[in-house]
């Protein structure tokens, strides 16, 4: 592992100053479950200067918003989210999703910000191959074993999937992210925060956060009345693994009619994939046993699987059908 220096700022402004001085050589260090492994794997893009934000005490909280929503500090542990009574009561689907992230041990260390902004877990990148994200100019996942951690919806140079679950689960709630930048606070939707492979500061990354910016908070708006939501995840192992396909589904239902819908797939594309064609199809429809089959017929029309991962599309469609069935409870006898 290369030699590193650690800074321990006590304010966000101080952290931004340090990050600005070192440029892309520096990186934010919170839980470390992604960052330290990148260092251990000797990846070229792993930072030399770690800016430990754990000493900044106003980044770790779950609190009720005066407007009825909930604010979660970016350094809040995933285990704290999974155990939060407030979140269980307001956003049970988010809690359900967080429970499926990794293992209890890692959830005790990992932070919400780290989960949202984590590096992809392509085995070629993590194995030190000189790919697009590691100083090279070729995606080994596109031509190698792409059965688990690569996109079935096309790519842009890098074909790894966005690995996080929290973003997939937060998008249906129209959650917003707050970024502290040298120019002040910036607010983005979760979709804007993780739009998939893009070039930022000479690097390919899944999120828009620049080298001198820090994700500080996620804001969940008040839950909508009549919302039914579910999160499902298929993975190679029962626990401690990334999604081969996942689905966060949220339906706003009145008198069994869907007034609004959010359909977000994870594990199949370079970003949390909001399937607007299905959302539009579902709006105005009556929940029924046949709805799943009709929705899956129009879902993921732009699928572009690689050689070994077309099964991901079948999995995602299966999750959509089972999710819709789950949110349509049988009528009482």
């Amino acid at each position: 592992m290369k030699k590193i220096s650690i800074y321990r700022p006590t304010t966000v402004d101080e952290a931004i100053q340090i990050l600005s001085v070192h440029g892309t050589e520096a990186g934010v260090y919170a839980g470390g479950t992604d960052l330290l492994i990148r260092l251990k794997n000797r990846l070229k893009q792993a930072p030399t200067y770690l800016v430990d934000i754990k000493k900044i005490d106003n980044l770790r909280y779950i609190k009720e918003d005066p407007a009825g929503g909930v604010r979660i500090g970016a350094a809040t542990k995933l285990a704290e989210i999974a155990d939060s009574d407030l979140l269980k009561q307001r956003y049970p689907m988010l809690v359900q999703a967080v429970h499926m992230i990794s293992s209890p041990e890692l959830r005790n260390v990992s932070t919400l910000g780290g989960d949202l902004l984590q590096e992809v877990w392509c085995q070629y990148l993590r194995g030190g191959y000189a790919c697009w994200r590691n100083g090279g100019y070729l995606c080994y996942g596109a031509i190698g074993d792409n059965s688990y951690y690569h996109s079935a919806m096309g790519g842009r140079l890098c074909y790894a999937v966005y690995p996080g679950d929290a973003a997939v689960a937060l998008i249906p709630f129209d959650a917003k992210a707050k970024l502290a930048t040298p120019a002040g606070l910036r607010e983005l939707t979760l979709e804007q925060l993780v739009p998939g492979d893009l070039m930022v500061d000479g690097r390919i990354q899944s999120h828009v956060v620049r080298f001198n910016e820090i994700l500080t908070e996620v804001v969940l708006p008040p839950p909508q009345p009549g919302v039914r939501a579910s999160f499902e995840k298929l993975r190679p192992r029962g626990v401690w693994d990334f999604a081969m396909a996942s689905l966060a589904l949220s339906l706003q239902v009145r008198d069994n009619t869907i007034e609004d819908a959010r359909v977000v797939f994870g594990g199949i594309a370079g970003k949390p994939l909001r399937e607007r064609a299905v959302e539009n199809f579902l709006k105005g429809k009556t929940l029924s046993a046949e709805l799943g089959g009709r929705a899956t017929a129009i879902a993921l029309a732009n699928a572009a699987p690689l050689k070994y991962n077309s099964t991901k599309i079948d999995m995602a469609k299966g999750l959509l059908a089972s999710g819709l069935a789950k949110l349509n409870p049988p009528a009482p006898v």
Binding site: H22, G23, Y137, Y140, R156, M199
Partner: protein, 223 residues
Amino acid sequence: MQTIQGILFEPVGCLAEFSPEPFLEIAARLSLPGPAGRRLAGRKKKASKSASRSYWHALNLMEASGCDAIEAAAIETIEMQAVESAAIYEDVIPALAELKAMDIRLTIASSLSSAAVGRFLERSSLLHFDGVWNRDNSGGIKAAPLRSALAGIRLEPCRVMFLTDTAEGLKVAESAGVNSILMMNDPDESRRLAMLNPAGGIVSLHELPDFIRLLRSRAQPSI
């Protein structure tokens, strides 16, 4: 890799889907008698299904046999048939237009004949190229069109890419000093070719503008 200012294209395998049969026919015509011919032409028991591999195999035979004027005319006729049945890849025109807008010099550097390249460009309505080099105006095949193209666009080889999907193409790019970029059309073949250390690789031409942008972006310091 340095910031790229020019790209050289060989139509076969990079701009259009060609059928392998015409190139196999050329190879069959050029197959030499005796051990040398068997070494060049008869190594494979089965004919290649890849047009690019068949094409580069035919070029090797052309290089070894040094065909006369009558043979050259016959080869050109077969190449014209290959061009007539070629189908341009759907991502080519938008990618070339975007690259042109980025001020990248685009040049054809092909070992096909002048007539075949001309007909290919006419059929595919590709008007984006700053220069067109073929085996007739460059005086040779394989590396010769690349060298002529480099002289024509007056760029350092390290600032130029050559797209290819064969081992022969990678070798030719290396010999001309340009960056060899693997077109990863077939995953299994590409996995094998990736072992030959190309400078880079793309799955689709629509990635080329992003490739160039990334190189530009990496050349700029973040602070």
